[in-house]
């Protein structure tokens, strides 16, 4: 579904250049749920923007559903790190924005939007303006907006970062449901290892500046998964520990991608046609 090869991105400003991403190779299969972990500033948001067609890569190839990415597509929904709500629109109208832009009938999707808001615990706030909401509530509105169009691909940038544990859990369950029902492909940036292990089929770990593929960890736990209450506690613990270690690792002196990482990558999952190719060059 999503294929990145050798994707790099450099930002150049007045005060020098920043190499945000270097040589990212990644294939995400149709219907796969990939989580991206990495230190703050390692290029996760940049990567999502490149996939969404919002930012050109300075190098490398990006394609979605076989087509090279040159601009945003309606079947890809992006949930930004900041809520990015239109301040003049009510909560409901914000959620319905994609519907309007896609030229769909508002009336038809109103019920769905209200349902999503209800699910996100925002029932009763439909008519409020964004500035009347708390930070976490705004983030949930943005989540509802990204879900309302039933996108084939969902790119989510820390969607639960401002939420409490209970809300997080409820929404995780909902997200899994959406993922399984719609068979949508999801790329999910998070800082929570638990969340990554709970939700993802594969977890991509990026190394810090410049962001390179540090490792790809497969999570082979059957769905639906719930926090705490499943039969795969051991597996979960192992994955979590692995990821924790990967993240906690201080930067290497040479700062080059680890060459021996393939060993940790699990064999390809049955339903995925595209394999994760993690490594420098191809």
């Amino acid at each position: 579904m999503i294929r990145l090869s050798g994707v790099s991105r450099t930002f150049s400003g007045r005060s020098g250049t920043v190499e945000a991403l270097r040589g990212i190779d990644l294939d995400v299969a149709d219907g796969e749920f990939v989580a991206i972990l990495g230190r703050s500033g390692c290029g996760k948001s940049t990567l999502l923007r490149i996939i969404a067609g919002l930012l050109p890569a300075t190098d490398g190839l990006v394609s979605v559903a076989g087509e090279p990415v040159t601009r945003a597509r309606q079947d890809i929904a992006m949930l930004f790190q900041r809520p990015a709500l239109l301040p003049w629109r009510s909560v409901l109208d914000n959620v319905l924005l994609p519907v309007e832009l896609f030229g769909w009938r508002r009336a038809k999707h109103r019920a769905r939007a209200l349902e999503l808001l209800e699910m996100a615990g925002l029932g009763g706030f439909e008519k409020r303006l964004p500035h009347e909401l708390s930070g976490g509530m705004q983030q949930r509105v943005s989540l509802c907006r990204s879900l309302v169009g039933n996108p084939r691909v969902l790119l989510m940038d820390e969607p639960f970062s401002a939420l409490d544990a209970l809300t997080r859990q409820e929404l995780s369950v909902e997200l899994q449901r959406v993922h399984m029902e719609n068979r949508s492909t999801i790329v999910f940036v998070t800082h929570s290892i638990d969340e990554a292990v709970l939700l993802a089929d594969r977890v991509v770990v990026l190394s810090p500046r410049p962001g390179r593929l540090r490792k790809v960890v497969d999570i082979d736990i059957p769905r639906p998964r719930t926090l705490g209450r499943n039969d795969h506690l051991e597996e979960v613990a192992r994955c979590s520990a692995d990821l924790h270690e990967l993240l906690m690792e201080r930067e290497r002196p040479d700062a080059a991608p680890e060459s021996g990482r393939a060993s940790l990558v699990e064999p390809p999952r049955a339903q995925a046609e595209d394999l994760a190719t993690a490594g420098k060059g191809q």
Partner: protein, 279 residues
């Protein structure tokens, strides 16, 4: 710890304590007293200046003379005011539409912006009196040249405000529109235009008094009535109190139209007051 209620400066959100009902009249007082005070001060200063003969009554007649000039021909003056105000309003309306469209064009294409901006600045910087012959010769008398004059005087602020507003959409909202693959028109209608509205309103507020001047100037050249005509006529026969009565009527209806515009802005853009902080 004393029983003092914590009460920092008012914040932007509507944080009125409950149970403060009889605020209605106080609000009206608070809205009306300062402008009235301003009016009184202005008239007092004016009166003083003429009373001590700082300026000769020819140049600035004393307020009482202007008042009696007004009462002497109030019917005619009010009629003229209606005419000029109507022209101002129509001209302003047309200018708003045209100005926003031109602003849209400039915002839509960098090429158009680069190509036409100098021309617009040029038109805006030409003293409009110099264009008078051209106007009357090509458009004759009556509404067309007057409305054109209004347009010429007030289009620029509207165009500039619109173009600026549309080209300074907050990056995060523009990116949102792009991420939804909105067409240019959709992004404009659903995101850029609403985001630009506060800016456009500033343009309109600058343009409003200019529109009044435009109508008056148009009447100077091509009018068959109206306050502009009245001013020229009165000045020609040395009747400066009547001329000043007319000038004040222009000022008065401009203030009124401006106030309406401000009210409209407030009603149309409640979110602006909520997401920004005035003091």
């Amino acid at each position: 710890m004393t029983e003092i209620r914590s009460a920092p400066r008012r914040t932007s959100d509507a944080s009125t304590p409950r149970g403060a009902r009889p605020a209605r009249t106080t609000d009206a007082v608070r809205t009306l007293v300062p402008p009235l005070l301003g009016l009184v001060v202005t008239i007092a200063v004016w009166w003083l200046v003429t009373e001590v003969e700082l300026v000769h009554p020819m140049a600035l007649p004393p307020p009482q003379d202007v008042l009696s000039a007004f009462t002497a021909s109030s019917d005619r003056l009010i009629e003229q005011t209606t005419l000029t105000a109507t022209e101002t309003l129509i001209g302003f309306g047309l200018s708003t539409v045209a100005g926003v469209l031109i602003g849209l064009l400039l915002a839509g294409s960098r090429f158009a912006a680069r190509m036409f901006s100098p021309l617009l600045v040029a038109v805006n910087s030409v003293p409009k009196i110099a264009l008078a012959p051209l106007l009357v010769v090509t458009l004759g008398w009556g509404q067309p040249p007057i409305l054109t004059m209004v347009f010429l005087l007030c289009f620029f602020p509207i165009v500039l405000a619109t173009a600026t507003g549309l080209t300074t959409t907050p990056a995060e909202l523009a990116e949102l529109a792009r991420s939804l693959d909105a067409s240019w028109w959709q992004a404009f209608r659903k995101v850029r235009l609403p985001a630009a509205l506060p800016q456009i309103f500033v343009g309109l507020k600058v343009a409003m008094p200019l529109a009044a001047i435009g109508a008056v100037m148009g009447e100077f050249q091509a009018g068959e009535g109206g306050l502009g005509y009245e001013i020229v006529q009165s000045l020609g026969i040395g009747d400066s109190p009547t001329a000043w009565a007319a000038i004040l009527l222009i000022a008065l209806f401009s203030i009124l139209l401006y106030a309406v515009l401000t009210l409209l802005e407030r009603l149309a853009l409640p979110w602006v007051r909520a997401t920004t902080s005035a003091r």
